[in-house]
Symmetry: D2
């Protein structure tokens, strides 16, 4: 059994990791830390786990975590970079769900995240955990940077088009919408029910922190820099991301449906819908799936890709477990056989 620790167990990605790991047949969750709730039983905070999780929150200390085989960081940005080095030194595999190791350029990271990077020497080693792009590296990784929720949906949506150089890289437009759980479980006015419910808005249009991460990922696929306009929006619901991606075709477009189907034929968690379909976030709610459709409206040269994920699963905790499976030599889908909760 893999001994797993979770640092930052009181946020939504933390409790989502618990939802997946307490039923994972190869994992034993031994440590769950939370500064604010140390000493409290986990299932007292999260009654959905009653009967399935008998650990209590502890302070985040390296000594206790060093006994784990794998430690997940479900912390705010800036925490994993302080503890990763010690844990690695103890032979612990580190899977970071925060943004600390996603951006390869430490200065760029600092500009977007507003702090100096505490551990820039580890950035190069960190593997970006998008299995559909770099599965082999993930299998060898000691330190894994889990992609952000928006970046997961946008990269999976654009991947076949960009790998095959079929669209104009300089004018990509990603109009993406997310449920409110993406904003996390913190006391704040803007995501109150009375503020977010029955309303819809764009935010961070001038520049969202996921922009450099997406641009970096797309540039690696393209083999050159890309120009991306990324507009995130807040949907009055809890879970789900819907990416509507636009690109101008430069090459032959006749086989787009087949291109997507082939690219993802072997991918367990990416599902290309039949031609003409339009994915709905409810069909991936609670599951680790990404459902994708590709359209070319009116036969014109603008292609439209629709991609949906559950931001807390394929966009966070589920993808982290998928990466853990790969890093630990398990089958990639262990613990992730989940049917989306419809309706």
């Amino acid at each position: 059994m893999i001994r797993a620790g979770i640092v930052g167990g009181t946020g939504y990605t933390g409790v989502e990791l618990l939802r997946l790991l307490v039923l994972h047949p190869g994992v034993d969750v031994t440590v769950v830390t939370s500064r604010s709730d140390a000493g409290m039983r986990v299932d007292a905070q999260y009654p959905s786990l009653r009967g399935l999780c008998d650990v209590s929150f502890t302070e985040p200390e390296v000594d206790a975590l060093a006994d784990c085989d794998v430690v997940f960081f479900a912390t705010p940005n800036g925490t994993a970079m302080l503890m990763a080095e010690s844990l690695l030194a103890h032979g612990v595999k580190v899977i970071d769900l925060s943004a600390d190791f996603r951006i390869k350029d430490a200065l760029e990271w600092s500009r977007w995240y507003g702090m100096e990077h505490a551990c820039p020497e580890l950035i190069a080693e960190a593997v970006y955990g998008l299995p559909e792009v770099n599965r082999e590296q993930i299998k060898q990784a000691r330190l894994l940077a889990c992609p952000g929720c928006y970046p997961t949906a946008v990269q999976l949506g654009y991947l076949p088009l960009i790998e095959r150089q079929l669209i104009d890289f300089e004018h990509l437009i990603a109009d993406v919408k997310s449920g409110a759980s993406g904003a996390g479980r913190k006391a704040q006015v803007p995501t109150l029910m009375s503020e977010t419910g029955e309303s819809f808005k764009a935010y961070a249009v001038a520049g969202h922190r996921h922009l450099p991460e997406i641009s970096q990922g797309l540039a690696m696929m393209a083999g050159k820099p890309v120009g991306l306009t990324f507009v995130p929006h807040l949907i009055p619901m809890i879970r789900g991301i819907h990416a509507t991606l636009y690109g101008r075709l430069t090459g032959d477009a006749e086989e787009l449906q087949a291109l997507y189907e082939e690219r993802y034929a072997e991918e367990r968690f990416v599902d290309v819908l039949p031609a003409g379909a339009q994915p709905d976030t409810r069909n991936v709610k609670g599951s680790n799936n990404c459902q994708i459709a590709i359209h070319q409206p009116q036969g014109k040269d603008t292609v439209v890709v629709l991609a949906v994920i559950d931001n807390l699963v394929k966009g966070a905790a589920g993808q982290a477990v998928q990466n853990m499976n790969l890093m630990c030599g398990l089958d990639e889908s262990v613990g992730l056989d989940i049917v989306a909760l419809y309706p």
Copy 2:
């Protein structure tokens, strides 16, 4: 492997049965019927099942269903009573999620359901499928009547108080609230998003069809008739039932918390919360659990019980699978190890 059939696979209880059964390790879903969608792949109608279910809807014919070991009816009221006898004659176990076999008095049934009962001779044999009350009978059943969603929550909530004769049976008040999925997946104006969203109302105050079912169940627990005021309400959400139950204490109330904990100590799917807690429907969303709390506000003689379930799981498909497990000699919880989807 148990060969299972589902009659009426296009409603919410039908697709919820599929969600549970496609991952059930002891079941193979071989037939799913739907008059309206016959010929269509199930996962074309329900993309949440893509990759997990490769059957197509067929017409509801006895011949095909007769090859099953178990057949679930997830049909409107009035269908199961037409087919149950033939299936039983073929040795098929029948689990009815509709109301056809819940009420023991056929005339009473006719009054509430507005049609004559087509098969009154089977009513006596049908076992009412609330395992916490009559597990042993369920194990022997050929024909099982699954409780309604409201009746499940109300009966589990009142059970310990009534069994122990602690409250005035003549003036029970059940103020119960349900999400919109309880109204089913049928085209109608009142449960449109624009009608049900952002609003709250009581309905069927003069008399809801679940009233005689609840009264019958409580009377059996009490050993005599009960007087019940039952007011159902519609919550602007999809899944979940919250029952707020009131009763006037006639006996000693000091040990109510202990009473509930003891009564349900061995029950895998009924969870008595710690004293002072208040259950939240989100903590059972997608799971087969019932969470219960008991309060005696201000120390007065009115006791308040709070009970929550997911109407589609413990209130329908999950309880049906629990019953199937019992009827087929499996462990009661196989296929039902699910953590509620929070948030």
Copy 3:
């Protein structure tokens, strides 16, 4: 023109007062205070008011407020009691939407609100602002205590039955449900979209602060103490309260519908629905109406009253404006001709 000030303009009752007052033909809003947002334009904080409100938030100072004819307190509990005396001394009418002057017994108030009352000598003078009960006193009031949202719905629902002594006063049960805006516009986890959305729960079952206020009001109607079990619940929506009220009939019940219609025949903001109807919170959303229906299910001795209001209008700001109209000699409904926003 009445010069009106609002203390505490950044909460939901504050902005709701502004919604009503900026279009009120007899009122000029001259001062809006907010410690946190002083200096900011009101319509920068609340873009719904752009073009209709050109004042800026100021610090809450008596000097500026003393120029007003009427000052509304839309503040947390404990603020109005510190400023009311000075404002009254300047000849300003004070309308308090918080709880400071609702409870006539200062010790009782302290027990429920957890602080000593700073101004107990004014409590006796304060008039409780439920126009349907004490309109004449309101017209003469200098200091008005606006009822809480739950108390408004419960008292209007029970009023005819209790005035006429038709039910058992010792065992009243009020099962009441509120939208999330009742919890106010403050940063906190429990009313985040991801916590409150798609879920339903009871809270404060052991004792809610509105319990003594309701009990006091019902006792005044009854002419003797009442025994009340009050269970509030949180609905996953923004606006609206639905009270489901239970009582055991002691007298003749045949004319309940007529009783309610007669009692409220002259009331502009209380609307008794036709026999058999069930009110829906959406039909009063944004309006100052209370819609009520009375039922006697199955002809038994338990009567069920259903009453709905918009918690921010008839339950707060609308009722405050209604009271202001009365106190200032205007027609009671000026500025309150609003059709509910359906759908």
Copy 4:
């Protein structure tokens, strides 16, 4: 007083017209028709109107409607074109909220709406009712075609950029999101609470009926054909449209904020937000306003316009009343002084 009739009073645009017209100081609603509800009081169907509307639904007959000064069609497509001619012949002004007279090319109209146009000779006379574009024509109109909801938001958003020829007309991208009330009040599965709630999807990506209307409108502004990719989405809420519009700048962009402010300086119902702001649909909920913001993310050549309206007000009934005011010589904003319902 203007005598107004409403044909098709049972849909959401019909009841929204009633919400506005019953309080309009210059209008008397004399006829409301509904085939399905003829004979029923309007306020029995819509309790939000109790006390404000004492008419009953009648059959849609020209004789009765001919007594009106203005008749609004809030009907499904294909009805207004059958009755408009007779009403005009009686001197009645006709305001059509359906699509019958929006498209100037009758064949194009037939292709998108799937029926032959019954009255093509009137199409040329019909004035397209977007006052910000053609107010003077509206004042003279006998037959007015109210714009669709999506077209209103998209055209107002693009208008200044296109009039000034600042963007590439061949590759416009309109990613637009609507609440569920846009789908109307008809019994159907896809907009049930359990289908639409807690989910998000794109629809009609291959071609939505509003595409030719938007293209026609933009082409008139541009003076030449435009190439538009229009992707509508369904938001899990009731009211509101959010348009996110993309364009590639071809000219000088430095003064975009000033350009928008100047273009709309005199427009009562179009509100350009301060630089950097992002509009939220809740801030126009229930009001006739369109709030707009213009962004140029990262200083690149892709401009992003955000525009929000309430689909039932500025996108339907409110704009219809605005047009009526113009056609009848009233001030444009009479009856439309409404503060959005926040929260």
